[in-house]
């Protein structure tokens, strides 16, 4: 791809998200989402592989449907109440439709079916952009409308997402599909808490983005896209493999790693809001996710996969990336939990 075209697409990716962030009118927000979608489509088909084209087509269809639903809901609201402002959405038809549309944009259950297939068809870098950057704009809109959406819908979507994210990832052997189901589950946790504490949902999103970035970049460095490939990567780079294990446990939400922070704070907030049963079910569904993360750690670190090479580090990987993003995000993924009080003070209170 020509570097000029690539730069233009990356710029438009940023432009679309920024436009949605900065907008208070639904039309401008919708335009930002569309610019985002259109900018990432050529990035997804850079390789022209048939599977990448398939993933791109599926992504385009789902995102276009969601954008059309957003437009429909916002114009319905404008027709019925005369309001175009995002946080002034009051009609229940409009708010329910917009919630469904944003769920489709984000890949929340019950409209999550496109997510694993699309991420599986892409390479790890584009999958990373899809899992992280593309969540920002719809999440910003979700933050603004969450106060007006029926709480039952939010709770149901959140709980269903955590359940399906855990259940769907159970027997996966492809790492990209595992990360897709992990995305569904994490977004479910965010949607659960967004109605009670939007800053906490934002914090969860931020920590999820950090953890997912480190996971994707680590898998890219060890060139592993399947469970078996990750299991045999200990000969290539034992340090990266052991870090990959810890990153996966952080995604699972185990203390003393960073991933525990959002789960802990969300459960605490739910109990404070007098919803212990909801907290219980959310924690139970997190156990399903924990199972497949632990299984990955088991295959990587606790078993020695069959390998013709019996000595350690037979060759060294040429460093393919010189940016500090991987070490930075990995460090944040593993070591941020003790800073929880400071983060709480800065973000929430």
């Amino acid at each position: 791809m020509s570097p000029y075209v690539f730069t233009l697409l990356i710029f438009n990716l940023g432009l679309g998200t920024t436009m949605t962030f900065a907008s208070s009118h639904w039309l401008l927000a919708w335009m930002g989402l569309e610019i985002n979608t259109l900018a990432i489509i050529p990035l997804m088909t850079r390789q022209h592989h048939p599977r990448a084209v398939e993933a791109t087509t599926k992504y385009f269809l789902t995102q276009a449907t969601a954008a059309a639903l957003i437009l429909f809901a916002s114009t319905s609201n404008a027709w019925l109440t005369g309001e175009w402002a995002i946080n002034q959405m009051s009609h229940p038809l409009a708010t329910s439709t917009i919630m469904l549309a944003l769920a489709l944009k984000l890949g929340l259950a019950p409209v999550h079916f496109w997510m694993p297939e699309v991420i599986q068809g892409l390479d790890l870098t584009t999958g990373l952009v899809l899992s992280t950057w593309q969540k920002l704009a719809p999440f910003a809109l979700l933050l603004q409308v969450s106060s007006t959406v029926n709480p039952l819908i939010l709770t149901l979507i959140g709980l269903l997402s955590t359940l399906i994210g855990g259940w769907g990832g159970l027997n996966q052997t492809q790492l990209r599909k595992i990360l897709a189901y992990s995305s569904i589950a994490h977004l479910g946790w965010m949607v659960l808490i967004i109605q009670f504490s939007p800053p906490l949902a934002t914090l969860s999103l931020l920590i999820y983005i950090i953890m997912t970035t480190s996971a994707f970049l680590t898998f890219k460095l060890t060139s592993s896209t399947t469970m078996n490939a990750l299991a045999t990567s200990w000969t290539k780079s034992p340090m990266m493999t052991s870090l990959a294990t810890l990153i996966l446990l952080s995604l699972a939400g185990l203390p003393p790693l960073t991933g525990f922070m959002p789960k802990w704070l969300i459960l605490q907030e739910l109990v404070k809001q007098d919803l212990p049963m909801l907290a219980f079910f959310a924690a139970m569904t997190a156990l399903l996710s924990l199972y497949f993360y632990l299984r990955l750690c088991y295959t990587v670190a606790l078993t020695s996969s069959p390998n013709t090479i019996t000595m350690l580090t037979p060759w060294r990987l040429n460093p393919t990336q010189t940016s500090p993003l991987n070490p930075l995000t990995t460090m944040l993924t593993l070591a941020l939990l003790p800073l929880t009080p400071a983060i709480l003070a800065l973000v929430i209170y």
Partner: protein, 300 residues
């Protein structure tokens, strides 16, 4: 089961009907009950059903079908608790070879579809039967490259044997997941002819429906068995028979079919005996893709 009487065999239909027979002629009732308005594809040579649907209704077959599909559904649900693809995780990790198709009984032939150019009006014939001792399958027949006289076909003379795509409960689409492997291993005994192996991966509706990954299979023709190991990195992409300029490696996570094709423009009889079709993980083979992946005509 009595054969349907309401069919009148014209000489042409009888000729077409004798083109290929996988098993002794049995009416395809599973195709019949869905053929309400003749919408489902009827392969040339198969007789047309003129009996109305209400006469062909069979309660016993319906109950058997429901039992079969619900059993498959239950197995799919329960296998989720065991591990990936219904096997324990340890087995998935340790697996280095897997025999996908082996011919040990008449039911193994039902997993394959045989066709030849008689579907477009040509004169080749292809048959599939079990080999000696019911341990192998024999694909045999006659190639004839005389094109059909329909005014538009210029070339003819091919025959093919293709595996049926795997189906789950209620005929849902399933795929072969061969990501743990990197080599196709066949044990065959041919007649010296050059065959082609086609692997059909999962495609997305009309976008890539004619895409196929192919490689050559040169048979020796002797009385001795031939072990053929073809790495998946060697398969090249073709669409509608035309090799694509923009080549891509075969992705092994969603494989639908494997097929053998013969079209070497040599008229006459042929036969191919297959013992098994397996996949294996050759750890000495480190090639990712055998063909150029860079852009060959880059715009400056």
């Amino acid at each position: 089961m009595a054969l349907p009487r309401a069919t009148s065999f014209t000489p042409a239909v009888r000729l077409l009907g004798s083109c290929y027979k996988q098993t002794p002629f049995v009416p395809h009732l599973s195709a019949g009950w869905r053929d309400i308005s003749g919408g489902e594809y009827r392969r040339p040579g198969q007789p047309r059903y003129n009996t109305p649907i209400w006469k062909r209704f069979d309660f016993h077959k319906g109950v058997q079908g429901m039992q079969k599909h619900f059993t498959l559904l239950k197995e799919e649900f329960l296998s989720r608790w065991i591990g990936p693809e219904g096997k324990p995780l340890v087995e998935h990790m340790l697996e280095q070879t897997r025999v996908i198709w082996e011919f040990r009984g008449p039911e193994s032939l039902d997993q394959w579809t045989v066709s030849s150019d008689c579907e477009i009006g040509g004169r080749s014939e292809a048959y599939l039967k079990l080999g000696r001792n019911n341990t192998t399958c024999l694909l045999y027949g006659t190639l004839c490259s005389v094109p059909p006289r329909d005014g538009e076909t210029r070339y003819s003379g091919y025959c093919t044997m293709r595996s049926k795509p795997p189906k789950g409960s209620f005929d849902s689409k399933k795929h072969h997941d061969w990501t743990s492997f990197n080599t196709l291993h066949l044990r065959i005994r041919g007649d010296g002819r050059p065959w082609m192996i086609n692997v059909g991966a999962e495609t997305y509706f009309s976008h890539q429906k004619d895409d196929m990954y192919s490689y050559f299979l040169y048979t020796r023709g002797g009385p001795y068995w031939q072990d053929v190991k073809i790495p998946f990195s060697k398969f090249f992409l073709s669409s509608r028979g035309r090799i694509q300029d923009d080549q891509h490696p075969l992705w092994l996570d969603k494989i639908n079919t494997v097929g053998f094709t013969l079209g070497d423009k040599a008229d006459g009889p042929f036969q191919l005996e297959i013992d098994f079709v397996a996949v294996c993980n050759d750890r000495a083979h480190t090639e990712q893709f055998a063909y150029e992946a860079y852009k060959r005509n880059p715009e400056v």
